[in-house]
Amino acid sequence: MNRQQRIASRHNLTVARLNDTARALDKAIIRAGVPQADREPFIDWTVSLLWQQYKDQRMNQRLIIENEIRNLGIRFPNGTVKKEYTTCFKLPFDKISDVSLEGAGDLGLDFDCTAAGECSLSGRPLKAGDFTLVLRYHTVEGEPASELKIPLAFNPDPRELWVNKPTSRDIIFYKEDSETAYLKVEAGEDGSPKKDIVAASQRGRSHAQEGRPRDDHFSLFHCDDSDWYVIAVADGAGSAKFSRRGSQVACERVIDHCRSLLADNMAFETAIREFEADRTDAGKRTALTRHVIDIVYQGAIKAHEAVKKAAEANESAVLKDFATTLMFAICKRYDFGWFIASFWVGDGAMCLFDANNKTAKLLGTPDEGEFSGQTRFLTMPEIFRDPDVVAKRLRMAIVPDFTALFLMTDGVSDPMFETDRNLNDYSRWEEFYNRLRQGFPDDEIGGVDLSDDNEAAKDQLLGWLDFWSPGNHDDRTIAILY
């Protein structure tokens, strides 16, 4: 048989088979008693009925699968714009096909699935906002594509949301949004270098966001004749309306008071030397303590009174409106070492750091409550009513030498140390010192060159204060004697 004959033979076979089927159907219709005239409408009716049932069943199948997909409860976790995002989920690929996730590409995300239905959505989101992605898939051949809407939210990058609104110069008690100082103390007659003080204060981002002023303050002083250093740092309470003034008055008053009492105080100098000569002598300790109380403790009281007076001078305000913390230290170098005395009320940190001997001595205890941000203020009268106020808040130390004396507000100490325990941990202070000098290269924030007489350090320090720490955006102030 040639090819043509083979085709013809197959054709005949098919025709014969069809004829058989038609005859069998005819017979069945006759047996069922369908009259000749109804035969065609009956066949039409039957086919359309079955077709409808077939379609219904197909649709039901689709709905069942759609339900199943919905019940998977696919939810995409929130992401952050430009930050790597990945989420995985599983789809029953034995039941669905032609799966796509509409809108993913527009958001900068890739949608991928393995043959087994392990799907992933990943990439770096291009924009922030609330979006809806559409999961589109086919269930049953012949049915339309199914859809499932899945919401997806990308947070903005908090760093990009900050704005820096300058403080209006028209407000009462206006203060610059940032301040720096370098107190350079020239070498002594013998040529030996003397410690300098560098300080910087930067308005917090949370204040800058709303054009609110900086509430922190610092004041520095060095007496060229007596060689005393005085450093004061204060943190005006965030919600007290004139705390910027309170912190300033407190710092300035303390410096004034100490300046006048340290200029030519031979009795105090003698008391220090006599105490140093015999530290076990209780009488000499008492004599020295009396001087320290006159100078340092009285300084704190004078500061309290000065802020009170400033509040009374303002008719529209009460003392609480000037609420501020205060820490300050007086220091002087002797042939036997350094004498340091200090007073501290409030939070933040004041620490004598010695890298050579690996010690970090906290000059007091930060006042903190059970919730964040709770503290005590210089402006609270109960501070000075406390019978233990001197023991708690006044500190005196004699050390051979030190690397740096740090005074900082909680805007710096909270992000850098986080907890009380860390403040008492030398290794954390060492880490802090390294961060201070090295900066934060990942965030393009430079370090501070703490070498002698480096006046550029003040601007380096101000730049360093811009470091990033999530949730920590308070005013930041730090003064360093080094």
Binding site: G238, S239, F371, S372, T419, P470
Partner: protein, 211 residues
């Protein structure tokens, strides 16, 4: 990271069914979107939602704003309003979820509470018993909102000085209310620590101050 815990207590009793609860949802969504635009809120605000009707449920455990996805809120056909039970659950959640300072951990900021109702507590005895318990939890601020004409303000005034009312329970009112809530949360974020009571931003026209 230090968190600012924000607790929202929402009345889901039968009378809230339909448009009122839908309006609350719209308001909540707008509030979350608006807070996400605040960098400080984005890094510190944590939100929890407790609904109360016959049943009291924490439908959203304390969740950081950046991870937050609003859950479904459902209302029964009818039934009592168990505000007292809601306060009891609130106290339990505060005790287990809010962190206090320890030498090893920085505590959270003082929490904020927003309570919304369109009626009055059915369990008034328990409600009154819970008020001193709520006070002990040291909220930075408690803001109560009586929504609609049948909401009673007297019980709310026993809970807090900050009582507000909405004349209507439609989406405009709730949107404005929750916008104001998010502004108030912003203030909570700012005045951290320093004050005993928060100075709230002025409420919008739709929100009446009850004195």
């Amino acid at each position: 990271m230090r968190r600012l815990p924000v607790y929202l207590l929402i009345d889901t009793s039968g009378s809230m069914r339909g448009e009122p609860i839908e309006s609350v949802k719209v308001g909540l969504e707008a509030m979350v979107s608006s807070l996400r635009q605040d960098p400080f809120a984005l890094e510190s605000v944590n939100i929890s939602i407790i609904t109360y009707d016959r049943d009291v449920k924490q439908i959203l455990p304390l969740t950081p704003l950046d991870e937050l996805q609003l859950p479904e809120i459902t209302t029964p056909e009818s039934g009592p309003t168990h505000t007292g039970q809601a306060l009891r659950l609130l106290c339990e959640k505060i005790d287990s979820e809010v962190r206090l300072s320890t030498p090893d951990e920085k505590g959270d900021w003082m929490p904020l509470l927003f309570l919304m109702t369109d009626g009055k507590p059915s369990d008034i005895q328990l409600y009154n018993e819970m008020i001193p318990e709520v006070r002990k939890r040291h909220f930075a601020s408690i803001i109560a909102c009586a929504a609609g004409m049948s909401a009673r303000t007297e019980p709310l005034k026993a809970l807090t000085d900050e009582v507000y009312s909405l004349d209507t329970v439609d989406s405009t009112a709730f949107k404005k209310f929750f916008k104001w809530v998010s502004d108030s949360i912003g203030v909570g974020n700012r005045s951290i620590g320093a004050t005993d009571n928060l100075v709230l931003p002025p409420p919008p026209d739709e929100v009446n101050v009850i004195v």
